[in-house]
């Protein structure tokens, strides 16, 4: 399979993206209240929080009031009182929860904005917010969630999950290990087969759009190309049907679907135009993406490791 996209350095840059984070122990759980030493760590954007929980426990263990009664598997983090969903990639959590417009990053820093770096999070070992967070008490919970997400992405791209399912046991294990160990080369040696597999025309772009504050996720079936050719639809399509998935487009011939088109369709109240953003901006990997970016290209270069484009919507001030 030939690789004819932009140079792989975009993938590298995304993989290497990280956020400086300051982690504080919840004062109520510390024997020195708010005098606990903070923990500083540079967290990779494409990684997941639970992979760092053992490190946090090792650091904060000696500060805990009642170490004996603490279960390290009950760890959770919050940002300004909002529990962090551990199954979302770290970069997405930052982009959606800080709601920060990356174009003004430097200015924010100078003006002492409350969202300036490092990103400050609070660690808890008690009162696990069961109604907001999925449980993390089984050893494979994170891997299970990641694999389900890769399957879903695969299903969207190909109309089945065969590419993920047909990975050998060794390759599946390697794929997950590459996330655990944050290994770029191992990851792409396998993911290239899934994400840029061009044996079949791509049916849908795996994309989720996250709205600010409500933490609402919008997901629709997004064809990679606009349907310019009605004759390609199966005969007698029901006019009521809203699901384009059921109308397989055999040839990708139309104009590519752009970020602007998808946002205007999914979140019309925030994106009035497909070309200019006046109310909100789409943020991916901490970058404002131009509305005219074709989704197919974006998918090949800028998907998160689970195969999805997780786009956070940031309100313009």
């Amino acid at each position: 399979m030939s690789f004819d996209g932009p140079p792989p350095s975009i993938r590298r840059a995304i993989w290497d993206g990280s956020i400086p984070v300051q982690i504080l122990l919840n004062p109520g759980e510390s024997r020195v209240f708010d005098n606990t030493d903070p923990f500083y760590i540079q967290l990779p954007r494409v990684s997941y929080l639970p992979l760092f929980y053992p490190q946090l426990y090792a650091f904060f263990e000696s500060f805990l009031i009642d170490k004996g009664s603490v279960n390290p598997a009950e760890a959770w983090l919050d940002f300004e009182g909002v529990p962090l969903k551990w199954h979302w990639p770290i970069g997405l959590l930052y982009d959606i929860l800080t709601g920060r417009d990356p174009s003004y990053a430097t200015m924010d820093w100078n003006s002492g904005d409350e969202h300036r770096l490092p990103w400050t999070l609070t660690l808890h070992y008690s009162d696990y917010p069961n109604e907001h967070l999925m449980r993390l008490d089984s050893p494979n919970a994170l891997q299970d969630s990641f694999v389900n997400s890769t399957k879903e992405a695969d299903y969207l791209r190909n109309g089945n999950s065969r590419a993920v399912m047909s990975l050998s046991m060794a390759d599946s294990a390697k794929l997950w290990e590459s996330i655990e160990t944050h290994n770029f080369d191992t990851f792409w040696s396998i993911a290239d087969r899934l994400i840029t597999n061009s044996a079949y025309p791509i049916r849908h772009i795996p994309i989720k759009v996250y709205l600010p504050s409500a933490a609402k996720v919008v997901q629709k079936l997004v064809p990679p190309y606009l349907q310019g050719h009605r004759s390609l639809l199966p005969p007698n399509p029901s006019p009521q049907s809203s699901q384009s998935m059921l109308r397989l487009i055999l040839f990708n011939t139309g104009e590519p679907t752009t970020v602007g088109i998808v946002l205007k369709t999914m979140v019309p109240e925030l994106f009035l135009s497909t070309r200019a953003n006046r109310i909100a901006k789409p943020v991916l990997h901490g970058i404002v993406i131009p509305l005219n970016t074709p989704l197919v290209e974006l998918m090949k270069e800028a998907s998160y490791p689970d195969g999805f484009l997780h786009v956070a919507v940031s309100m313009m001030s």
Binding site: H132, D144, E152, P237, S238, Q240, S241
Partner: protein
């Protein structure tokens, strides 16, 4: 159905109405149909079940989730002193997956208001369903994926954590069970396997699906309802 075994949002809404009619005959299953605007989003079904703990042996293994008909089991009751009973509340949600285009069964269980773990789910829901079968659902479910076929996920409408049965095999299951009625001229059934298949319509789609999926986690529709309520047509 436009693309059997897949459902469109509109077809799901029709199928959901039919299932709710059926559920209204099941007094132990409290159900609701939820709408967003005028769009059907999901069906919720609530079931309460006391968990009897035996006093002789308080180990969790001996706990029993009361099933219908348990009260009749006199010999068991004499031997086992039924004692502080915990209450399991199970909330099942039937949602159309926007990705897989098939219904997905989400569920949550709380035992005395404590959210259930995956072990609880297997112990109180899956194993209880196994009691009446030769083949173990537990083995079948655990053999799939990293965790087995039961995963955690966010409810697509509510955004809160739920357990769910992974839908990647659902389309195949439904297709295996039956076919859509076609209006073509009747033909001689040379293919024997074909003639044994059931006929699936929007009237019975969710009922058949629930019969296959729900029973693995303790959601049973009374069998007589499957046949006697005019669903043979």
């Amino acid at each position: 159905m436009e693309s059997f075994p897949y459902l469109t949002q509109r077809e799901f809404a029709t199928a959901a109405k039919h299932l709710c009619e059926l559920l209204s005959h099941c007094s132990d299953l409290e159900h609701r149909l939820w709408l967003l605007g005028n769009r059907t989003t999901y069906i919720s079904i609530r079931r309460e079940a006391p968990i009897h703990q035996s006093t002789e042996n308080s180990s969790a293994e001996e706990d029993e989730l009361a099933m219908e008909g348990d009260q009749e089991n006199d010999s068991e009751c004499i031997v086992r002193k039924v004692s502080p009973t915990k209450l399991a509340i199970i909330e099942y949600h039937i949602v159309l997956s926007p990705v897989y285009c098939v219904p997905v069964l989400y569920f949550n269980m709380a035992i005395d208001s404590t959210p259930a773990s995956l072990d609880d789910v297997y112990q109180y829901l899956v194993r209880q369903s196994d009691l009446s079968r030769d083949v173990s659902w537990e083995e079948t479910l655990r053999a799939v994926g990293v965790h087995g076929a039961i995963s955690q996920g966010e409810h697509p409408v509510l955004g809160t954590p739920f357990w769910f049965i992974h839908p990647c095999e659902t389309a195949a299951l439904v297709e295996n069970w039956g076919t859509v009625e076609t209006h073509s001229i009747p033909r001689l059934d040379i293919d024997d396997s074909h003639s044994k298949k059931g006929i699936i319509s929007l009237q019975n789609y969710l009922q058949i699906w629930l019969g296959m999926i729900g029973s693995t986690v303790g959601l049973h529709l009374p069998v007589e309802d499957l046949t006697s309520k005019g669903y043979s047509s």
